[in-house]
């Protein structure tokens, strides 16, 4: 599906790259005035990885929303499927294809940029492998989160208010607007424990070495626990929704 609209993908890619360069230019100017404990190259890497996997965070499924609004979801209810897992798989597949297709060219581009603008090398080979593992866990976690958002949509029908709010929480607390590593240190201790930080922040920290390899099991364990917890919450939410579902349309 994604490969059918190459023009749109390319346009989106250029747009993301532009945002990345602007953000890095701002951080460079800020660093010139007052260098920080975290090296600039880690901040630029943070920005590029965030831009590259942006689609993973925000790929809401308009088709499912339409189904809920028009009542077409009734057909899905008739299928002999476990609805939660069906949508979980669907959301995950969309996020995976959407982000990989965009991330690869972007990361290649970012890696070619000069030092201080582009992507730095991973802290070590184990760090790279662990960050890939973290990214996969992040994908599981974000899909579970989005399924909860969908469950909210089934309740309220108009997704804009609630979804806008949840999206914003996502953008801020996952480090897309401002790298979480630049938040005040006292906030970071709390923010990094929240589910939103598990999506991209944890893999990025593993990549740059902010989370040392020895601390990786702890970080991965937090990711796994959140994923399991969010899936349980989502499942329960969907089950109650199915029990008192009012179908739209006629």
């Amino acid at each position: 599906m994604e490969t059918q609209y190459r023009g749109a993908v390319l346009g989106g890619l250029i747009c993301q790259v532009f945002f990345g360069i602007v953000l890095i230019a701002i951080y460079r100017a800020l660093y010139a005035g007052k260098p920080q404990e975290i090296p600039l190259s880690h901040v630029t890497t943070y920005v590029w990885l965030q831009q590259a996997f942006f689609r993973m965070l925000l790929a809401t499924d308009p088709e499912l929303q339409d189904k809920i609004r028009t009542g077409a979801i009734a057909y899905d209810l008739c299928r002999p499927l476990h609805l939660y897992s069906y949508y979980y798989a669907r959301i995950m597949a969309q996020k995976l294809t959407g982000s990989v297709l965009r991330a690869l060219p972007m990361l290649v581009f970012a890696a070619l940029l000069p030092e201080g603008w582009g992507l730095c090398l991973p802290a070590s080979v184990p760090a790279l492998l662990l960050s890939v593992l973290g990214l996969i866990l992040g994908l599981f976690c974000v899909s579970a989160l989005e399924n909860i958002t969908m469950a909210f949509t089934m309740r309220t029908l108009d997704p804009r208010g609630m979804q806008g709010m949840l999206n914003l929480l996502m953008m801020t607390l996952s480090g897309n607007i401002l790298p979480l590593t630049l938040f005040p240190d006292s906030w970071q201790r709390v923010i990094t424990l929240l589910p939103y930080a598990q999506l991209l922040d944890t893999p990025i920290r593993l990549y740059t070495g902010e989370h040392a390899v020895s601390r990786a099991p702890e970080a991965l364990l937090i990711q796994i626990s959140w994923t399991i917890l969010l899936i349980i919450i989502g499942c329960a939410f969907w089950r109650t929704n199915q029990r008192k579902l009012v179908i739209q349309g006629g």
């Binding site: 609209y5 023009g7 749109a8 346009g11 989106g12 250029i14 747009c15 532009f18 945002f19 360069i21 602007v22 953000l23 230019a25 701002i26 100017a29 800020l30 660093y31 010139a32 005035g33 007052k34 920080q36 108009d158 804009r160 208010g161 609630m162 806008g164 709010m165 914003l168 953008m171 801020t172 607007i177 401002l178 630049l182 938040f183 005040p184």
Partner: protein
């Protein structure tokens, strides 16, 4: 004059119609507030960590941020027809009905939509302007107030002009074009900060092609008593005109593009 009255009347009706669903409207305005508040929080956190950005102190940065928020979202409220609806009108063929009526296309497009939810974003911008003005200890004189009003006025035309690029592109290629977002939303994000912090290519982009620097940053820096370039003070009154010039050019291109318009409707 007649056109202006028509526009004012459409705006009144559109805003009234949005207020017919007060709860939904309230939810959405709050979502907007949280969104713009989040942007401002990022600025606050950055200032907290870095103290200043080149020669710009915290007050200056809040002032630049507020100026951008107020003008960008004013454009989104009153120019929604161009900033949001136009690509949709082209895609669905709705534009055909517009062509039949005895009024200009752009007038009708502008009259077709308003987005009053953005009012909370403007509120955030105003708060940021007030904080900035206090921290930077701006002494407001009648001249400065006049300059400020002029800046907001021409920023509106500049941003509307940039959104027209998207309108022009989508007449040619039907699919809404994400690329144009680099100048509009990208320009907004970038030019929340004074443009002299950027490397040369970006500075040229935001001075010559999308003249945010001329329309906003030059007058704002004069208001802050830290002129951006070593230009005479009266120059700050002249440079914002480039916003209207950009809009004029885009208007001519838009008229040209409309001749290529092929309906998609059935």
């Amino acid at each position: 004059m007649n056109t202006l009255r028509l526009y004012a009347r459409s705006m009144a009706i559109l805003i009234k119609s949005q207020l017919q669903y007060p709860l939904s409207f309230l939810m959405q305005t709050i979502a907007q507030l949280v969104m713009e508040g989040g942007e401002m929080m990022a600025l606050i956190l950055l200032i907290d960590r870095f103290d200043r950005l080149n020669q710009w102190g915290p007050g200056d940065l809040y002032f630049f941020f507020g100026l951008m928020s107020v003008s960008f979202y004013l454009t989104e409220i009153f120019g929604r027809g161009v900033t949001g609806n136009f690509p949709y009108m082209v895609r669905t063929g709705q534009l055909d009905t517009v062509l039949l009526r005895p009024r200009g296309v752009l007038t009708q497009v502008l009259c077709s939509a308003a987005d009053p939810r953005r009012i909370t974003c403007i509120a955030v911008g105003v708060v940021s302007l007030v904080i900035g003005s206090n921290l930077a200890k701006i002494t407001w004189t009648p001249v400065k107030i006049l300059l400020f009003a002029e800046t907001i006025f021409f920023s509106f035309w500049l941003i509307l002009g940039l959104f027209m690029i998207e309108a022009i592109l989508c007449i040619h290629s039907v699919k809404s074009v994400e690329l144009a977002n680099t100048l509009t939303y990208g320009g907004r994000s970038a030019c929340e900060y004074p443009s002299d912090i950027y490397p040369r290519p970006l500075r040229v982009l935001f001075t010559v092609i999308a003249p945010f620097a001329l329309v906003m940053h030059v007058p704002a820096s004069v208001i802050l008593d830290k002129p951006l370039f070593s230009w005479p003070k009266w120059a700050a009154f002249v440079t914002p005109l480039s916003g209207l010039i950009l809009f004029g050019v885009m208007y001519l291109l838009f008229r040209k593009a409309m001749r290529f318009y092929r309906s998609t409707g059935s």
